[in-house]
């Protein structure tokens, strides 16, 4: 816990910074020191300090209260404790009025400081747990909740931000566990429909008839067991967003029904005669290649084009390995807090193991792996041995190669490479290990348009 709450000590007296820093480090805190307000503000820009001890009187430049105000500009949640050599009620009142959490007169009893720090941090821990639980309860994720420093993911986030308040349909593609629902929630909760419902329907989980009544609702007596009229998910999502997960798995009949809703925003309940009009934004997701499914006649082409107004293709975790440490740290903080386990972080050796894994189950798999490691962790830090089972389970990936002519395999490899590289021939040829002119020859030979 302590390493997650860095502390800053700001004082123009070297001896004060040195001694206070040493005393707090003995307690396990990460402590930085600054000799003046300007340096303190610069440090606060780089580090999210939990507590800042700031001397009230610092000659030249900013005094303690000015420093506190500047720090609060960049770190509004930092708790500031103003230190002074003299008890002056008016200054104390001013400091508290400007946002100081506490005001202490030096020297003070070690017990007083120890209790003060532990009280503030206990409160911060509770606030952080509260925020996590509230977020989990409402699942109102926004863009800043998506953790990434991967340039492609950052482009995707910028795009989702731009389209958040439009009504245009969004199609999210990506392997299982890449966070398609999280991105859909980010689009919804960042846009002007955020206050309206966000309804999730897992299309693959239901049979055709069940899915039909689930989506469109039904009238009393529409079928055996329909004893009362029921609203469907489209009606429940009115004004908001409906998220159709695994859209590639719906039947041809439902594809036709869905196309009509997309075109007219109107539908009939099952067994109903009254047309119902709704204002719903549709976000669909799939782990299938819908373009290919449409080409091969398994998915309506017109529906595909209606859905594919804004396309988002989420990269697999192995394609954004730089995010693994960030995500791992995030999961450690969140899950240890949820489970009430004192796990403070991950050792570099353990991170190396996580970086080397291929993550076929993507971010969801990483989350599960971290949870399992936290449950069995013994010494407060996730170490290499907490993931030893992961290494044992990591078998080399085998390719599931169908019995097709060799040329067909080559054709499929080229199509896949072009899709992964968004039609960029230069990048696709590099990925395939051939030069561009060879790739053009093959595109011509296999009649692949890109």
């Amino acid at each position: 816990m302590k390493k997650n709450f860095p502390i800053l000590v700001v004082d123009d007296e070297d001896v004060m910074c040195e001694s206070m820093g040493a005393w707090l480090r003995e307690d396990g805190y990460r402590v930085d020191t600054a000799p003046n307000g300007q340096t303190a503000v610069e440090l606060a820009k780089a580090t999210d300090y939990a507590i800042c001890f700031i001397d009230l009187k610092m000659p030249g430049g900013m005094d303690g209260i000015e420093t506190m105000m500047e720090i609060h500009q960049v770190r509004p949640d930092a708790s500031v404790i103003i230190i002074t050599a003299y008890a002056a009620v008016d200054t104390a009142l001013q400091a508290m009025k400007e946002g100081a959490q506490e005001y202490i007169v030096k020297p003070c009893n070690p017990q007083e400081i120890s209790m003060l720090v532990s009280r503030i941090l206990k409160l911060k821990k509770l606030q952080s747990e509260n925020a996590i639980l509230r977020k989990k309860l409402t699942r109102q994720y926004r863009h800043h909740d998506i953790i990434t420093k991967n340039p492609r993911m950052e482009e995707i986030l910028a795009l989702t931000h731009e389209v958040a308040s439009l009504r245009s349909t969004v199609l999210i593609r990506g392997e299982s566990g890449t966070g398609k629902e999280l991105v859909a929630r980010a689009v919804h909760f960042s846009g002007n429909r955020a206050e309206k419902p966000f309804i999730v329907v897992s299309c693959a989980a239901l049979t055709e008839t069940l899915l039909e009544s689930e989506l469109f609702g039904y009238e009393k007596g529409a079928f055996t067991g329909a004893n009362v009229q029921a609203k469907g998910k489209f009606e429940l999502a009115d004004g908001g967003t409906i998220f159709l997960d695994e859209i590639g798995d719906i039947s041809p009949k439902l594809q036709a029904d869905l196309l009509r809703v997309l075109q007219e925003r109107r539908f009939y309940r099952v067994g109903g005669t009254n047309e119902i009009e709704v204002d719903v934004r549709i976000i669909a997701a799939t782990n299938k290649n819908l373009s290919q499914e449409a080409q091969q006649g398994r998915f309506r082409e017109d529906l595909y084009y209606r859905l594919n107004v804004i396309e988002i293709h989420l990269p697999a975790l192995r394609e954004r390995r730089e995010d693994i440490p960030l995500l791992a740290e995030h999961f450690v903080n969140r899950i240890s807090s949820e489970l009430g386990r004192e796990v403070h972080g991950i050792t570099p050796a353990a991170l190396k193991v996580l970086m080397a894994h291929d993550w076929p189950g993507n971010v969801r798999e990483l989350e599960n792996v971290i949870e399992r490691a936290i449950v069995t962790c013994r010494n407060g830090m996730l170490d290499e041995q907490d993931f030893s089972w992961l290494q044992k389970n990591s078998v080399p990936q085998t390719w599931d190669i169908p019995d097709v002519p060799l040329g067909e395999l080559e054709r499929r490899a080229i199509v896949a490479a072009l899709e992964r590289k968004h039609g960029n021939v230069k990048e696709a040829s590099a990925a395939l290990g051939i030069d561009r002119s060879t790739l053009y020859d093959k595109l011509k030979r296999y009649e692949i348009s890109h």
Binding site: E13, V15, M16, S19, A22, E26, K106, P107, P110, I113
Partner: protein, 182 residues
């Protein structure tokens, strides 16, 4: 060669060296050597408070560390403090070579009670293990019985035992194994 160097800063009762040497031999795989007594540095004295700034004493000790793997423990009878805190039982560099322990507030006489050598011995050993533990990377422990628990008043020193808890002891042992000695 690495060692644990003990040094008196000002006058220190002779019996203290036996207590400290025995405790150090029990826990740390380092030869214990005594260095000649040092005077309490004038620069450390804070006339307003009638106390001595531990930072100045630590600075003086850090100049006398013979090599990086060694540790130096200063023991003094003067009352230590830092600008922020009204007193200290001792102070150490976390993962560093220097530590200091003050016997001033470990003595019954400080609290207006008759001197008790056995009480002073227990408290001295606890504080020496505590500060030396910091120099070997241990931080404060939540186990009140552990020598590494934070004592902000004398009752908390008395509540500790003269040993590390199993977790801190293990961490210390791992440290010595990993460093091949220190």
């Amino acid at each position: 060669m690495s060692a644990l160097y003990l040094v008196a800063i000002g006058d220190v009762p002779e019996a203290a060296w036996k207590w400290i040497s025995e405790a150090a031999a029990d826990w740390f795989p380092l030869p214990v050597e005594r260095l000649p007594r040092l005077p309490v540095p004038d620069a450390a004295y804070d006339a307003k408070r009638g106390q001595y700034q531990s930072v100045e004493i630590m600075r003086m000790l850090s100049q006398r560390v013979p090599n990086h793997d060694s540790r130096i423990l200063g023991v003094t009878n003067v009352d230590l403090a830092i600008p922020m805190l009204s007193f200290l039982f001792g102070q150490a560099q976390l993962n560093g070579p220097v530590a200091v322990v003050s016997l001033c507030r470990l003595q019954q006489e400080f609290y207006g009670l008759p001197a008790q050598e056995d009480v002073l011995r227990e408290r001295t050993v606890k504080e020496v293990l505590h500060e030396m533990g910091h120099t070997f990377g241990l931080v404060h422990c939540s186990d009140r019985k552990c020598a590494m628990s934070l004592a902000t008043h004398i009752e908390l020193v008395d509540a500790k035992s003269e040993e590390y808890c199993s977790r801190c002891g293990l961490q210390l042992a791992q440290r010595f194994t990993a460093d091949g000695g220190v």
